[in-house]
């Protein structure tokens, strides 16, 4: 399990206990975290789960697949710390991770 903190665009924060193997998108949607849509249900096919990973956690989040990079390429407001939350699965190594969600997905 990992404690993941989601910080919304308005600064509001919320911390969830996410079970191992559950994606950060899935946990956010199931708990009504604002700013994440997840239209494709986690298939890396919509880019509506775009988040910014806190710099200290970027390496721990792992590498992007080719498809993730392709989908992010078309997303709005992408920066070097951008990831698709459905492609990051919780595990003990991510315990304490902080991610920022955009005002809205596009």
């Amino acid at each position: 399990m990992a404690k993941i903190t989601y910080i919304a665009a308005d600064g509001g924060a919320c911390t969830l206990d996410v079970d191992d193997g559950v994606s950060l998108m899935e946990a956010a949607v199931a708990n009504g975290v604002p700013g994440i849509d997840g239209d494709c249900g986690g298939n890396c096919a919509c880019a509506t789960c775009h988040v910014h990973i806190d710099a200290r956690w970027l390496a721990a989040a792992g590498a992007k697949s080719e498809m993730e990079a392709a989908m992010l390429d078309f997303a709005e407001g992408v920066t070097a710390d951008s990831r698709l939350a459905c492609q990051i699965m919780a595990s003990a190594t991510l315990d304490g991770m902080v991610v920022r969600t955009p005002l809205s997905q596009h």
Binding site: G38, D39, A45, C46, A70, E76
Partner: protein
């Protein structure tokens, strides 16, 4: 024309036309089914055929399709697999493009919906700023003002065509705004859009030569706009954006035409038919309209549900670039693969109670209507915005929904799933 409201509540669970279609769909040999038969679409009878394909042959080879042999992919999860595999399933116009009917190889209109990476990516990025969040916020004000004027001018107590007066007018005005198109000529956009997708094998539609002549007229018109704007300072409209962006300013004329038509068709029929569909669904499900009135916060999920339930583009097609083993079948290199979004959106394996229209469905956004993967609809937020405004304005005005007083006319197409007419009356 009938002026009495249809009593949907009195309809049997399955309307009679579907019961007859079901009997036929299950009696005929699987090998004889052709989902491209326009009769199935104009008469709204495709549903039981898809149900049978999903259950009995989810990756199905039609050896005798109207436009040549093709595979039908009908389950939600399988469609997702094809849509996200652009390395093996191509959209390229030269291989046939994105509809079951091949693009005419002697009149290829290059447009990025029918391109593979890397060219697709470059052109998509050149166009997408038109629907950026900032531009949408600006468009919202204009779209709302114009929608209000349209609703304010609808007659009460008299039957009129909702498709023409509301759906077409609204989407045409939105497009004219995107292109900064001469206002009084705006119905030309509707005309070009309708003709660009008209199937020449359907009687009454233009022949291939006539259609091509109409498309060239469109090109001439837009070339005039291009010439005006390329010499003016960059502006926020699409023509100006294409004329000034390094990725698009050197396009050859046919490529310009292709990308224009992509936006005209993409932004027109689809949204138009969702506006019309939404009214028929609410009329048939008065309890859902009551829910929306009681809780207007449901509008966003209602909009997603309308788009799922309508599925304005029934399918998208790909061409296999290599041999692919899929669902126990062998798809050969060069085969046409049709992803039936309209079927996937009604697949009970992925959608709970798929045949019901439920505006507060959990995860209403998880539908196939906008496609998935690198070609996922660029205009999806704009389409949702327009529908949201339509329903907000309807809610403001009509405690009782405008009455649907006749059967909708349907477009004879297995691609554009939509309506030609819908008689409606606003209670006086």
């Amino acid at each position: 024309m009938a002026t009495r409201a249809i009593d949907f509540a009195a309809w049997p669970a399955e309307p009679p036309h579907l019961a007859a279609a079901r009997a036929r769909a299950y009696a005929m040999p699987l090998t004889e089914i052709d989902m491209l038969d326009t009769d199935l679409w104009v008469n709204d009878m495709h549903w039981p055929y898809f149900e049978r394909l999903r259950d009995e042959s989810p990756i199905h080879y039609h050896a005798n399709g109207r436009f040549g042999p093709y595979w039908s992919v009908t389950r939600f999860a399988d469609i997702m697999k094809v849509d996200t595999d652009h390395a093996r399933f191509s959209s390229d116009a030269h291989l046939g493009g994105i509809t079951a009917k091949d693009m005419d190889q002697d009149f290829i209109l290059p447009m990025f919906i029918a391109m593979d990476p890397p060219k697709h990516d470059v052109q998509r990025k050149a166009v997408s700023p038109i629907v950026s969040p900032g531009n949408l916020a600006h468009l919202e004000v204009l779209i709302r003002e114009r929608a209000q004027a349209i609703f304010d001018n609808l007659p009460a107590g008299e039957t009129f065509d909702w498709v023409d007066r509301v759906s077409i007018e609204l989407t045409t005005q939105m497009l004219a705004t995107l292109f900064d198109f001469p206002w009084d000529d705006r119905r030309l956009l509707t005309y070009w859009s309708d003709k660009a997708t008209a199937d020449e094998t359907v009687p009454g539609n233009p022949t291939k030569a006539e259609r091509e002549a109409i498309m060239l007229e469109c090109l001439m018109y837009f070339t005039k706009l291009w010439n005006e704007r390329v010499n003016a300072p960059p502006a926020g409209d699409l023509v100006s954006m294409l004329a000034h962006n390094p990725a698009t300013r050197d396009m050859v004329p046919m490529e310009y035409l292709g990308n224009l038509l992509l936006l005209i068709v993409g932004g027109n029929d689809t949204t138009r038919n969702s506006i019309t569909g939404g009214l028929t669904f609410m009329a048939a499900n008065p309890g859902e309209y009551a829910k929306l009135r009681a809780n207007p916060d449901l509008i966003e999920s209602a909009v997603s549900e309308i788009i799922r339930y309508q599925t304005p583009l029934a399918h998208m097609r790909r061409t296999a670039l290599v041999e692919v083993e899929f669902g126990g079948q062998t798809i050969r290199k060069g085969d046409r693969v049709v992803m039936w979004y309209v079927s996937g959106n009604r697949d009970p394996r992925s959608v709970d109670r798929p045949d019901e229209f439920i505006i507060d469905r959990p995860r209403a956004r998880q539908h196939l209507s906008f496609g998935f993967g690198i070609h996922r609809c660029v205009g999806n937020r704009l389409a949702e915005l327009q529908l949201k405004i339509v329903w907000q304005e309807i809610l403001k005005r009509y405690p009782r929904l405008p009455e649907v007083v006749g059967i909708p006319g349907r477009v004879p197409s297995a691609f554009v799933k939509g309506y030609t007419s819908l008689p409606v009356r606003i209670p006086a």
